[in-house]
């Protein structure tokens, strides 16, 4: 797996090495786009002392947490691997299936873009590190372990959620591309908001059908709630990630069987290995 990641990482690096100013522009643009999705939250946290039960430092913590999770998901999800509906709906899964490696491995390797998609992660790590030091309580090793587990869980929710909606492309290639774009923007728009004041019906939706609550709000709330160390609540995010991953795996596998039966009659190389 290491050599696969290295090979694909290098494919992401090569355009940068010859890109010069263009490459730098890409990194700056990518950073601005990702930061702008949490800009409203950052401005609120900076301008006011807090939002509802959240202090401004806690809001910065949530923003940093979400950016790190998204950055982590992005690093393994370049080249339309996260927007999987495009690969499926355009018949590009054929290229992946012609590689002599398991599908998950091929997708993870192909999506590995540590150089061109690391901007979010870098900004997130900075914000998270600053907010942790600014939080008015000391944290032990167990808390940091819980933090890492929750970051992994949030990244998993992002990928699983995108794959769940993206898998619709097995049945409806064109429609799923639209749905997948919307599902992606929901993650970037809503994942870094405290949802405490949301009406019950909205809240129910945001932790089930569109589980953005499990990307930022619930994990950070549970991590910040316990002054004496993490409670059982810190497992809520990772548990939701596991449940969503199982559902996504089942749906995706079913879709893959369909792909084997009917193939894709809508081949387009647009976006393929670009």
């Amino acid at each position: 797996m290491r050599s696969l990641l290295a090979a694909n990482g290098r494919m992401g690096l090569e355009p940068f090495l010859r890109g010069g100013w263009q490459a730098l522009g890409w990194v700056v643009g990518e950073t601005l786009i990702n930061v702008s999705t949490v800009l409203a939250m950052l401005l609120l946290a900076g301008r006011f002392t807090g939002v509802g039960p959240w202090s401004s430092t806690e809001l910065f913590f949530m923003v940093g947490f979400v950016l790190v999770s998204r950055g982590l998901a992005n690093i393994f999800s370049g080249r339309n691997v996260l927007m999987i509906s495009r690969k499926i709906g355009r018949g590009q899964l054929d290229h992946v299936l012609l590689q002599p490696i398991p599908l998950w491995k091929a997708l993870a390797a192909e999506g590995f873009s540590p150089f061109d998609l690391a901007a979010t992660l870098v900004v997130g790590v900075g914000t998270l590190a600053w907010s942790v030091t600014a939080l008015p309580r000391a944290h032990d090793v167990l808390w940091f372990g819980a933090l890492l587990l929750n970051i992994a869980g949030s990244a998993c929710v992002i990928v699983a959620y995108q794959y769940l909606w993206g898998a619709l492309a097995f049945w409806s290639p064109r429609g799923a591309e639209e749905v997948n774009s919307v599902s992606a923007s929901v993650v970037s728009d809503l994942s870094a908001y405290p949802l405490d004041a949301a009406p019950r019906a909205v809240l129910s939706t945001l932790v089930t059908v569109v589980p953005v609550g499990f990307i930022g709000w619930i994990p950070t709330r549970e991590l910040l709630r316990t002054a004496q160390g993490p409670g059982v609540g810190v497992l809520a995010g990772p548990a939701a990630a596991l449940a969503l991953a199982v559902i996504t795996f089942a749906v995706f596998r079913r879709g893959l069987r369909r792909y084997e039966r009917y193939g894709s009659g809508r081949y387009s190389d647009f976006g393929h290995r670009r």
């Binding site: 090979a7 494919m11 355009p15 290229h95 012609l98 590689q99 490696i101 081949y267």
Partner: protein, 350 residues
């Protein structure tokens, strides 16, 4: 006695084996009116397309098979089944002793697939980068990579394009690089789906030469699809013709020509503008005083046609040739469409 001694085929082992393979697709029919649109939400109208109807085929090691047929005949479906990308509805698909879809990971390591309208190259990267990426992805050992790259570079003249981005190549150069990339892991079975599609005459000739060399010199088993019969005839391969999902012919090109009589073309330069009607020959084209006829040489001789023609006009020049393979195949398809297949010898038809 092995197959080499028995029937002249290179070795006895069967590389590809399709047995009574059926494949159907469901096509959703799009509504035209608002009422139909609402009805189709609950009960969509589906149309069943039979891509393959009981196809059986065996390919032996070292053989080159030209899998021919018009658009929609089922060629690409067969290639997808043999690539492990799809599974049949009924029947069995086996290649290199494996089930392509079930044993995908192990199987694709031993085959190469080239789709004429798709590329495995990285679009915004140099050709060299794509080769290095494949080395890592296929886990090709350093020494094998060096050997294969040396051979391929010489055979396909890769050096001049090695540092060029894939998107900057001409279609001919891109296909050359794609074919070389497909061969990097030294596959045993090569599946080529319309590899000459869109290529100009020179690029097509070179591509056909490479494919021929792969089979003749490197002893690779090759299955190539095309709707261009002239290309396939140049490969001097065994031809398997599919039509509407069924194999209708399996043999050599000479046998194929024999199925539709001895078709000839006669072009005559005369002193008359109106082409004289000739018994037993069909006028196909007139250009001034130059007229082209087609006829079946097994029924009417050139001499008799010239006698008839010279009685009505002066003959300045004459040229005869065998009908092109495309004309032959076109006639075969017409006969198949009309259901007059009984005219074609039973040994050739399936």
């Amino acid at each position: 006695m092995n197959a080499t001694e028995a029937d002249g085929t290179p070795t006895s082992d069967t590389v590809v084996e399709l047995a009574d393979v059926w494949k159907t697709y469901q096509q959703r029919q799009r509504p035209e009116s608002l009422g139909e649109t609402f009805r189709s939400l609950l009960r969509p109208t589906m149309k069943t397309v039979e891509a393959l109807k009981g196809v059986s085929l065996e390919v032996r090691r070292g053989e080159m098979v030209a899998y021919a047929g018009p658009n929609g005949a089922g060629k690409s479906t067969t290639i997808k089944l043999l690539s492990g990308l799809m599974v049949p509805d009924r029947g069995s698909v086996r290649a290199l002793g494996m089930n392509p879809a079930a044993d995908r990971v192990e199987y694709v390591r031993r085959i190469a697939v080239v789709f004429g309208q798709r590329t495995e190259l990285w679009w915004d990267h140099s050709i060299g980068a794509s080769f290095r990426w494949k080395k890592a992805t296929w886990g090709i050992p350093d020494d094998v990579y060096r050997d294969m790259l040396g051979q391929l570079s010489e055979q396909f003249d890769l050096q001049p394009i090695w540092k060029t981005l894939a998107r900057e190549l001409s279609l001919g150069q891109r296909m050359r690089a794609d074919l070389a990339l497909a061969l990097l892991h030294d596959p045993e079975l090569i599946l080529l789906d319309e590899p000459t599609l869109g290529l100009d005459v020179v690029a097509r000739e070179r591509m056909l030469d490479w494919i021929k060399r792969l089979n003749r010199q490197d002893r690779k088993t090759v299955l190539i699809t095309s709707h261009n019969m002239a290309d396939l005839e140049r490969l001097d391969a065994r031809v398997v013709m599919v039509h509407q999902g069924s194999v209708r012919f399996d043999g050599g090109f000479d046998d194929l020509r024999a199925t539709v009589a001895d078709r000839r073309v006669m072009t005559v330069s005369t002193d008359v503008l109106a082409a004289p009607a000739l018994q037993g020959a069909e006028l196909t084209r007139s250009d001034g005083t130059r007229h082209e006829y087609r006829f079946d040489a097994s029924r009417v001789s050139v001499v008799r046609l010239l006698e008839e023609l010279s009685s009505t006009c002066r003959i300045d020049d004459i040229q005869t040739s065998v009908a092109s393979i495309d004309d032959v195949v076109s006639e075969v398809y017409q006969q198949l469409e009309k259901g007059t297949v009984r005219d074609i010898p039973a040994r050739a038809l399936r």
